[in-house]
Amino acid sequence: MKNLNNEQSHNNSLSFGEGWGEAFVSISTLNLKYQHKLVLKDLHWTILKGENWLLSGISGSGKTALAKAIVGLQSVSGEVKINFNTESLLPAKALFVESWYQFKNVEGVANFYYQQRYTSVQAKETLTVNAELMSYGKENNLAFADAEPILKALGFSALKNSQLIELSSGEHKKLQLVKALWLKPQLLIIDQPYTGLDAASRKHLNVLLDDVSAEGVQLILICNDAELPFCINRFATIEAGELVEMNSREIASALPEKYEREIPDFLKESPVYSSNNIVKMVDVNISYGEKQVLNNINWEVKAGEKWLLQGPNGSGKSTLLSLINGDHPQSYANTLYLFGNKRGSGESIWDIKQHIGLISPEFHWYFDASSTVWESIASGFYDTVGLFQHLPFSKSAQVDELVAYFGLTENKNELLSALPLGKQRMVLLARTIIKNPELLILDEPCQGLDLQQTQHFNQLVDELCSNGMTLIYVGHFESLLPNCLEKRIVLENGKVKVIERILEKNSIIEKENYSTLVEQ
């Protein structure tokens, strides 16, 4: 690795057009402090015309802050100069696509809850995708026809009439990408472009990114993924507040060492099951008006089983899980047994949730941002979003133990919303397991974590599961799964496509590649 503070030459196999060699973005002596900690320290970075960068590195290293500083969303000391091409037909703009999505209801406020998308309400609270795109196009003088191919490539066309509240996290990500690719700003920075996208969409996205790059858009991608668009030609990471260039894309291949910290004793106890039948679905159907989201699902989960749930974006995975967690109003008209009881036989949703620890991207997004780290974790005992009661001594001691185990002690009184996303996610993962539940539902639990955090969390899941916990795990990234998974269910268009036993971790990877090929 070389320090970028010194000007340097580099090899590049791409051919460069006019203006090659000129600086496009010049950043000098950038400094940023966050709560006494120096995040960026005299950082220098020169981006030349024609370059497309990958910025990778561990969670919390300042990647997002740096990106925001470039587009002026983060105040820093130092200098950022962008030398836009005045002759170009592309808008002279630097656009930052956040890894978080935000939308408002038609009245301009956003007080949503994560179950809301499952409830049918005629009075429409949010805009449709179409209306959202229309107003974006109008605001930026874009021709609607230019959006069509992008929508199509990302498999988004069918969602045009959906309301924003109905979209899953992966679909929100796609909506953001559609807007950015449609706008084609001269500088496009995307934070975590691939989170929540299925394998096919990731490939399509790379093609689209190569296309806009060929048209003159310069890219900075912030992520730790290995499959990148071809146009990416420079690689860097942030270390100790400084930018460090790396030679190639062999970035995150080094496997982190095993996490040696011992898990708290209260998490070593085996769950006590009231029934051997955790979930039983018989011909389950879910639809909104004409649109059928789940179609004749039959599935059984027995106590202690470890399931992998997979399927492309929009195949119905989250809806399936919402049935299990007591979050779906249409559960009541289906034949569904949870923990041995027929759904709708007098149980409350709190009776159900008491058995379950759940996390999903949507759950994170709608979580109470005004809770502290400690309160967020503690609220897992009561399945509430935010803490509304005092904890008895023994429980509060358990929260402290888990806070320490996750290395969050110094953050424990901070507001959740004040932490970087990766850390927030760690907090919510701790919340998920605090009560040592019978059933863990982990819907893309490691989104936003770096490689090391992901490995550590999956290792923890393996340890918990070895004590007999039941698991349902959703993950798109085949290489980043816990080892304990033993069965797999795959959904496609709301139907069960495959139910099978997993023999070895490697065999799944092969099959997954195979099914991805079939999808296309």
Binding site: E107, V109, A110, Q122, P329, I349, W350, D383, V385, G386
Partner: protein, 493 residues
């Protein structure tokens, strides 16, 4: 039908007005048991109907909906809301005869007609529930003697009732049993179970009466909540424009200012709101709010008197019968005010600026909250009830103004509140004519502290702080807010 309240002897009037008991959480240990296995049938599937029903079902209760025939045949929104969420929907004839509890969540104006058609179908000994007492108290609706009549009134819009429940919390709720209709003595147990079913018990339940709920609800909404916020907003805007302040700035300050200012109210009462001002501004706001209280006291008293005597309901129902002539005219007039017509300017106003440049609104809010509270308490309403209907709800309504100004506020509140609001506004604006002549831009539009000495007299400041902090609305509020601390994050209405 005679006004129920007016049929009561004075002793009983005071008795019912005085029912007010902030219930301890130990009162809810029996959960939803009193309603378990019973058939709950909700009439109407609108804002309250759908959201209360979703909560009750998620609490393990048996819920279905009955709608008028036209709604079912026409597959109206209410029908879709219920069926698409997998509730059973049927006509009155199909569902009411088997119902153990019929929950009336239709608009208040329709209650007489609705209750008249469902009552004959209700089975012997069943329960009829309301979320507002207007029909029983003001219209004097007589309910069959074998039926139990209860009220469970969430003090928030329906969407919040649902959002807070799924978070694992709830919204503050008033419950009551109609003393004329509790033949088996089961009313209170059922009302408590219902409050548990909607999650209200987690945020605080006030045992009230139909009479206390209606008389305090009407008073609050007409005076401080909607009436004075409207009057104050219009007068403030007009004053700024008259004094040459940019209209876009004025529009923004008024539209969002009331929300920012009352956010402090929600967290720490009048004290917290006043503490956001500099010392000189606080003293000034205190002085003019005292003046405002003196000017407006007779108007507040008149509203309370007319509410108590039934005069308010009489003229309002007369207007209903008259095709809403006054209501529609006043609504149109509000839509045509300069404030309503001037879009908020594209200027940035930071949070503290809303206090510093809008001291007048702070004074309006203090005067209105305290006056409404005092007038209610003088009329025999208990302080806790008066608190909910004055201070507690002010930020909720302010929020609707921030969204889309007065038109939005008047669209969201009930017809009853809207009518009362206009009535107050029509009378209040002329009343404040002389007062407003003296108002200058340091109170509204510009920073009060600009060019002024920041010093104050110790004794004056101590006396002002003392008067603010020891007011009864602050003392009651401190206790009730503690029960609702978790409400801090509610983004309302």
């Amino acid at each position: 039908m005679a006004n129920y309240f007016n049929t009561l002897p004075l002793r009983e009037k005071l008795n019912q007005l005085g029912v007010c008991d902030f219930m301890d959480s130990s009162e809810f240990l029996d959960g939803v048991n009193a309603l378990k296995g019973k058939k709950l049938v909700i009439v109407g599937c609108g804002a309250q109907g759908l959201n209360q029903g979703l909560n009750l079902r998620d609490s393990g209760l048996d819920v279905s909906y009955t709608l008028r025939k036209e709604a079912i045949e026409g597959k109206r929104d209410s029908w879709k809301n219920a069926t698409e969420n997998n509730f059973t929907v049927g006509t009155y004839e199909e569902l009411i005869p088997n119902a153990d509890v019929v929950i009336n969540l239709t608009p208040d104006k329709q209650h007489t007609a609705v209750v008249k058609s469902i009552m004959p179908l209700m089975k012997e000994g069943a329960t009829l529930s309301y979320s507002h007492g207007f029909n029983i108290v003001e219209e004097g609706m007589q309910i069959r003697k074998d039926l139990t009549v209860i009220m469970v009134a969430p003090k928030c819009p329906g969407s919040e009732v649902r959002a807070e429940y799924v978070r694992g919390f709830g919204v503050p709720t008033l419950i009551a049993v109609h003393p004329e209709n509790d033949p088996q003595g089961k009313g209170l147990a059922q009302a408590k179970a219902y409050a548990v079913g909607t999650g209200g018990h987690r945020a605080g339940v006030l045992k009230s009466s139909f009479v206390a709920e209606v008389k305090s609800d009407l008073m609050g909404e007409q005076t401080i909540l909607c009436g004075l916020l409207q009057t104050g907003s219009i007068l403030s805007f007009d004053k700024m424009v008259e004094k040459g302040i940019d209209a876009g700035y004025a529009s923004k300050l008024v539209q969002y200012g009331v929300e920012v200012i009352t956010e402090a109210l929600k967290q720490g009462g009048i004290t917290a709101m006043m503490d956001r001002l500099s010392n000189p501004a606080k003293i000034k706001a205190f002085e003019i709010s005292e003046e405002l209280k003196d000017i407006m006291r007779p108007l507040f008293q008149k509203h309370q008197d007319d509410i108590m005597s039934g005069e308010f309901s009489r003229i309002m129902m007369e207007d209903w019968a008259n095709g809403d002539q006054n209501l529609l005219a006043w609504r149109a007039e509000t839509g045509e005010t300069a404030f309503e017509k001037t879009p908020a300017g594209d200027v940035k106003i930071n949070e503290q600026e809303y206090f510093d440049n809008y001291t007048l609104m702070v004074a309006f809010v203090r005067a209105g909250v305290e006056l409404a509270f005092e007038t209610m308490v003088q009329a025999g309403i208990k302080p806790e009830s008066a608190y909910y209907e004055s201070l507690h709800e002010t930020p909720l309504i302010a929020n609707t103004i921030a969204r889309k100004k007065l038109f939005e506020m008047n669209r969201v509140i009930s017809d009853t509140a809207e009518y009362g609001c206009y009535l107050f506004d029509q009378a209040c604006k002329p009343l404040l004519g002389d007062f407003m002549k003296k108002v200058t831009t340091d109170l509204v539009g510009k920073n009060f502290n600009e060019g002024k000495d920041a010093g104050v007299d110790n004794r004056t400041l101590i006396a002002v702080n003392d008067a603010i902090r020891t007011h009864q609305v602050e003392q009651v509020g401190a206790v009730l807010r503690k029960a609702m601390t978790a409400m801090k994050t509610i983004k309302t209405a």
